[in-house]
């Protein structure tokens, strides 16, 4: 008797099910980092462009840092300092001159030879070149030229002192070193890197699934802590948290709203770390949109908002209230705002302004933290007699609301709940509120000549004490305009396995090459 493929007995089905069950139970499910060979980390977006001059998001910067090293990099720890990377020696000769000498023996892959000072010159001058149209040209706004002394050493010449140089230019991918020959031969670089030279080499990119970095045996510096790093793009932080709890990830950022829950009940084998974020969240008031064109109304709104309650509600007690746009630890961080919660004073100001039954709109990004914050603000405003309508927008719409080039909604925009991230220099926070940014990113249309002048001074002042005074005054001016209610710097929540020792910048951003087995 012959049996066809589909002629299966009941006993056969049971045997098959049993075998499947055993196979499932025996499936090896363990954190890959346990053997110290593979580290699996989450990034919040997939890579799109690996050319340092055109990088789009921080996760690309994390990869670029490992495969195209710069002269220096951020040091891990709680203070914003730097350490040598591709450079063996760096010295600030004077306010406008920096000497560098490269490590000997840094080799580019794909046969592009050893890294030289000429490659440094090419890479830096390329980003600064207006013809290249790099969005990061501003990082080298003060560059005059890079002088090549010999194969390994050179000098960076600036036109004037540039305070952010050591904090937010040199340690970032704006100083990543590319091979001149490779770039001239091969041109554009998007998702397929060539002539890599860092402690890791990118060997594979499976779109929306994984980017693989493999330790570079030819790197003359400190070798990476893992043989391989797998970077998994997961946009949703809740999914990433579940992925971590299921054992599929070794390191991830968490949602701010999850920090308290994870702190109180960390997953098995997981360590929760909280780091102060540099980001800043604020409510902006568009000064040209009635009734906010009345300074008394704006001041009343400043006094109406119970910032502590807004932040506690939105971030479940995990984040602190801020005093401005400059985070603690940076020059210019203030101790307090000038106009804080005082609902009685708010009512007095509204009476003084002779207005009643006010109606305003509050535009927000459609995220749960923002919505909760907006609802508390709505209740605060109602308490002083102002009706507020919350308008939720998806990210694509939200980020163009105040942009004059994207339509005319900027004229109707009234209250906005904004959040910007930044690099560790106060100028990164203040730059978006200058008069040049009105209608671009300055949606409050805050226009103050003293502020603009102070911003310029802050860029060329190297003394930290002087910079502290400058940036504090700038935030006072913002407060006085009545166009800002500063809410929080948030907090960065991090989850990592207890078998992993992460290398983190002071704000919690990863330095992947510094991760080691614990």
């Amino acid at each position: 008797m012959t049996r066809s493929l589909f002629n299966i007995s009941r006993r056969g089905v049971l045997k098959g099910a049993g075998a499947l069950g055993l196979a499932g139970a025996a499936w090896p499910k363990m954190a890959l980092s346990q053997d110290g060979t593979v580290l699996t980390v989450r990034s919040y977006s997939d890579l799109q462009v690996l050319d340092p001059a055109f990088r789009l998001a921080a996760p690309e910067g994390d990869i670029i840092r490992e495969i195209f090293p710069g002269l220096v990099t951020n040091a891990q720890g709680d203070d914003w300092t730097w350490e040598l990377y591709a450079a063996e020696e760096m010295e600030q000769i004077d306010d406008v001159t920096i000497f560098f000498r490269l490590k000997d023996g840094i080799m580019f892959t794909d046969g592009y030879g050893q890294m030289t000072a000429d490659d440094v010159k090419f890479s830096i001058e390329r980003i600064a070149d207006p013809a290249v149209e790099s969005p990061y040209a501003g990082d080298w706004a003060a560059l005059s030229e890079v002088e090549v002394i010999d194969d390994l050493s050179g000098r960076i010449h600036l036109t004037e002192a540039f305070a952010p140089l050591w904090s937010s230019t040199l340690p970032t991918p704006s100083c990543s070193i590319l091979s001149r020959r490779a770039m001239e031969e091969r041109g554009e670089m998007t998702t397929e890197p060539f002539a890599q030279s860092g402690p890791y080499i990118m060997t594979e990119w499976v779109p929306r699934q994984r980017t693989t970095l493999v330790r570079n045996p030819d790197w003359p510096g400190e070798p990476g802590g893992y043989e391989e790093i797998h970077i998994v793009p997961i946009e949703d932080p809740s999914t990433a948290e579940l992925g971590f709890e299921a054992g599929d990830l070794d390191y991830t950022w968490t949602a701010v709203s999850s920090v308290q829950r994870l702190r109180e009940n960390p997953p098995a084998g997981g360590v929760v770390v909280e780091k102060p974020s540099l980001a800043y969240v604020w409510m902006g008031l568009n000064a040209i949109a009635p009734p906010l064109d009345n300074p008394l109304v704006r001041r009343a709104i400043q006094h109406a908002i119970d910032r502590q309650t807004v932040v506690d509600a939105a971030y479940f007690g995990a984040a602190e209230v801020s005093t401005g746009i400059i985070a603690p630890g940076l020059p210019g961080h203030r101790d307090a705002v000038l106009y804080d919660y005082d609902p009685d004073r708010a009512r007095e100001l509204l009476a003084e302004a002779g207005v009643s039954d006010l109606f305003v709109t509050l535009d927000i990004l459609n995220q749960s933290e923002r919505l909760t914050a907006a609802q508390v603000i709505q209740a605060n405003l109602a308490d002083v007699g102002i009706t507020c309508e919350i308008k939720q927008n998806d990210s694509g719409t939200f980020w163009t609301l105040g942009d004059e080039a994207s339509g005319d909604y900027w004229q109707q925009l009234q209250l906005i709940l904004g959040r910007f991230s930044m690099e560790p220099d106060p100028s990164w926070a203040t730059v978006w509120f200058t008069p040049e940014q009105v209608g671009v990113w300055n949606w409050e249309r805050f226009d103050n000549a003293e502020y603009a002048e102070l911003h310029r001074q802050g860029l060329v002042t190297l003394d930290p004490a002087e910079r502290d005074v400058i940036y504090k005054r700038m935030q006072d001016i913002m407060d006085e305009s009545g166009q800002y209610v500063f809410l929080t710097h948030e907090v960065t929540g991090i989850l990592h396995r207890d078998t992993v020792s992460p290398a983190l910048k002071p704000n919690g951003e990863p330095l992947l090459g510094g991760f080691t087995p614990a």
Partner: protein
Amino acid sequence: MLAYAAKRLGLSVVIVSVAMALLFCMIYLIPGDPASVALGPRASEAMKEALRVRMGLDQPVWTQFWNFYSSAWRGDFGNEVLSGRPVIEVVLQQLPYTLALIVGGITWSVGLGIPLGCWAAVKRGSFADRVVGVLSVAVIAVPSFVVAIYALLIFAVSLRWLPAIGAGEPGHLGDQLIHLILPSLAVGLGWVGYIARMVRASMLEVLEAPHIRTARAFGLPDALVTYRYALTIAILPTVTLLGIGIGQMLSSAVFAEIVFARPGVGRLVYDAILTRNFPVVTGAVLVTTAFFVLVNLIADLVIGALDPRVRSSF
């Protein structure tokens, strides 16, 4: 049969054309400037303008519509805004993951739905029939993203039997299948209920048919009568239902791909809408629309081939 096939094919072309027009209108009406969103805060106005020109957004709306229409019919969806990769390449890279998810979902729905439907029909009026009825309605009512989250919490987080995220090791079929179990369950579970209800209803009708009664009168075994003679006829409406079901599963795939952090067309479109990457949105939506129309065309042709009454009534 040829005339029937030609008519169905013509209708499919019309459907795709209308879908393209609707898609263009929807994209045109979405607020937000793609150049600003794509290039980020540090881009200058000149850079944004250059990108707008590259995307053809500086052209009059009718020119944009014509360019979109004529290019799409040639299969040219342009290049991705920032990486410059051909959109068709980007979409086709993601499509197999979504197809695998849908095939997995169909496997769950057919593999569980048909036996349950048959069983309920054979046990008509019994306690088992009522249980299957209640369960069917229950799984239809539960949204796929709820199934996804609970499946993930139970089988991946609590029991740690199955992986929570990703699509498995590239090139490792076993790992990819294991990674497919939970997402495909989330996509297919609702359809278990639909198919069970449909098969039960069809079976009850067919089991009363004269040829089945004749077969029983001849003394053929119950199992042979039920599964060989009744089920083969009763299963026909399920083919049509599955044609529609694939469209529904494509929508569910978006949630499954986000919750399980799987690559796929659903997540590609979702991300592309958020970043206003319109060439990718149009390319991905049109490819999936064409796929859906093709599947329904095949389902119609299969039904037409099996049932002459359908051909004559069209």
